[in-house]
């Protein structure tokens, strides 16, 4: 249980025991509580006072399945508020096995210098000069670092977008096949890393110093129950391995909630060409992989490997959200183009969601026609080249909207919505509006309730309460480090009880039956507190006007949840 504090200003690394105030926290719980305690809320997100925190989940590095998830947090240059962005790959498990609770990057490198942090199998961390890596894209960079430091390492890094400090810049992490295709994409954390002058973090995968589990037998038993329920569930046990997250694309279109052509239609004309079924069929024909392990310890394997007509690797993993942002949202119905855009964003170090939506706003404003895949590829390349328009695009949809003086910008707190339209899924609108993260589907997705018929998607009633419950659960999952796709297991009373037992066994203290909810509430309160001190108000918890005014076909509904209901979401009993 140690924190590694890296001071980029004076280029020092210090190791300390985890202070008592952070005990029992991991992942988003740790990043958010620590940012609230240590980062001046009014600071410049790209200045030396901000801190970039990389924290594996509380259970990352333990034998529990699907815990290879890392939270990366800071004050966001995109939203102006607190940010946690979650990624997979190998880094969370590797840090957990080294007994490292978090890496805290502070200060700012002397002008013009670039560094990298290297952590060896004993957990010793050193800062090294990385000026030779300047400008490198993430695929070439990761390959070089794994060659220089050896294959038994994993990498978190930024590409040109992060070095340019653009507000859509991601931090890419290497997957189990050592490709930098997993991303802490949202909120511009790559820009924070770039501003600190940190190009990469290289972490040994050979650690053998994981924190002790207080009651290993009880832990093992509860972990087994959770693994079994993940395997038995039709979504995690069958659908995700067969079709990946894109398997939900048909259902969302059937609900008329797939924002297309910059959120002017709820059903995409070419949805059957870009669906999970179409993707799986194509990969079967070409010899790609529809079932692929993206993150350590995963038993679901939602990832895929997209290959071209000759069977050569194009990208991994082509996910639902990217197929939407680089597909339906910009009117592109060609999976090959979407896959290429996905690769480019990973390679340049860009959030595919924010970037796709930024292009959709540009197209809606008349800059390029919807459906022009070649123009989309050229636009993304401009970001890496650092052209004037590339910088605007790389700063996200709000920057693009301002540039073109175009009002249809589907973003909240500066961050774009994801692949569910709030007019056809009102509860997602509540989450987008109120989440401390800006418009973020992972903060509280209600799709499962809509598909199961448990909540009416078009009615305002019940949406605020459902969003609150989901936001609490998601915050807790991000703290635990359990992949949210596996998180459905804690939705059942039995699963929640098993998870509570497991936390008790890990921490060596009896957890109350409501411990998971209490954990989620504590995190949300810390985040809300930080945002309030940073100057965000209820006005920032609103959707853009056009969602209230422009009906979305085919249901022709607008967003109707009241402001009063939105303002109640962060009221916790």
């Amino acid at each position: 249980m140690k924190l590694i504090r890296v001071n980029m200003t004076d280029q020092t690394v210090q190791v300390e025991d985890v202070p008592q105030q952070y005990a029992g926290l991991g992942g988003r719980g740790l990043t958010s509580v620590m940012i609230d305690a240590e980062v001046p809320p009014q600071c410049d997100p790209l200045g030396p006072e901000n801190k970039l925190i990389l924290a594996p989940g509380l259970l990352s590095g333990t034998p529990l399945v699907n815990t290879g998830r890392i939270s990366i947090g800071a004050k966001s240059p995109l939203t102006g508020g607190i940010k946690e962005s979650n990624s997979g790959g190998k880094i969370a498990t590797s840090l957990g096995k080294l007994g490292i609770t978090a890496i805290v990057v502070e200060g700012r490198s002397p002008a013009g210098t670039l560094g990298m942090l290297v952590i060896d199998p004993s957990g010793n961390a050193v800062l090294k000069d990385a000026s030779a890596l300047k400008g490198m894209r993430t695929y070439a960079l990761s390959a070089k670092l794994l060659q220089d430091f050896g294959p038994k390492n994993t990498v978190a890094c930024i590409g040109p977008a992060g070095e340019l400090q653009l507000a859509s810049a991601s931090i890419q992490t290497t997957d189990v096949d050592d490709r930098p295709c997993r991303a802490a994409a949202r909120g511009g954390l790559g820009a924070v890393m770039g501003a600190k002058g940190l190009k990469a973090v290289v972490v040994s995968t050979e650690g053998k110093n994981a924190d002790a589990i207080a009651d290993p037998e009880a832990f093992k038993e509860a972990a087994k129950a959770i693994a079994q329920s993940i395997q038995k569930n039709p979504f995690t046990g069958q659908m995700l391995p067969a079709l990946g997250t894109a398997g939900i694309l048909g259902g969302v279109n059937a609900l008329g909630a797939f924002p297309s052509y910059n959120a002017t239609k709820g059903v995409f004309d070419g949805w059957e060409k870009i669906s999970g079924e179409a993707l799986a069929k194509r990969m079967q024909e070409r010899g790609g992989k529809t079932k692929h392990m993206g993150c350590s310890q995963c038993i679901i394997h939602c990832s895929n490997e997209y290959v071209d007509e000759k069977g050569a690797y194009v990208t991994s993993s082509l996910e639902y959200e990217t197929i939407w942002s680089m597909g339906g949202m910009i009117g592109v119905d060609d999976l090959d183009t979407i896959a290429q855009l996905d690769f480019l964003c990973d390679d340049i170090g860009l959030d595919t969601i924010n970037t796709g939506v930024a292009m959709a706003v540009a197209m809606d404003a008349g800059h390029k026609p919807f459906g022009d895949g070649a123009a989309a590829i050229a636009m993304v390349e401009e970001v890496a080249l650092g052209t004037d328009f590339g910088k605007i695009l790389g700063n996200g949809p709000v920057a693009v909207g301002k540039h073109f003086n175009h009002h249809r910008v589907p973003a909240v707190k500066g961050q774009s919505i994801a692949a569910y339209d709030p007019r056809a899924m009102q509860g997602l609108g509540v989450t987008y509006a109120t989440s401390t993260m800006g418009a973020d589907h992972t903060a509280g997705n209600l799709l499962g309730l809509y598909l199961a018929g448990a909540l009416k998607p078009l009615e305002p009633e019940g949406q605020a309460d459902a969003s609150r419950v989901a936001q609490i659960t998601m915050a807790a999952l991000d703290c635990i480090g359990l992949c949210i796709l596996a998180g459905g297991v804690v939705a059942s009373a039995k699963g929640r009880e098993a998870m509570t037992r497991m936390l008790s066994a890990k921490l060596g203290q009896e957890m109350a039956p409501d411990a998971i909810s209490a954990m989620g509430v504590r995190i949300l309160q810390a985040e809300k507190g930080f945002n309030t001190k940073a100057g965000l108000t209820a006005k920032d918890d609103r959707l853009p006007r056009f969602f209230y005014e422009e009906p979305l076909p085919p249901h022709n509904t607008v967003f109707t949840v009241t402001d009063a209901d939105l303002d109640k979401v962060y009221t916790f009993r």
């Binding site: 039709p234 079709l243 259902g251 999970g276 639902y320 799709l447 598909l451």
Partner: protein, 80 residues
Amino acid sequence: MITVTVKLYGTLPQRMPAYDPQRGLVVTLGPGATVADLTRQLNLTAEDTGVVALDGRVAQPEDRLPNDAHIRIFQVALGG
């Protein structure tokens, strides 16, 4: 009797060996049959039947099926 065409999504087709994704399934039901009657006939449980779209609109289990209807059945899923 009525006849409807059903397309299955997700992993549902894997349950029906003869399923042709291009043509879908042609199912014959009694007059006045509902969406629930259809899912029952296809042996789909509530756990694995998500949204059912009837002629492009979301249908409820009690909705009656018109003759020649086109139905798409999706699975229950969480967010991506």
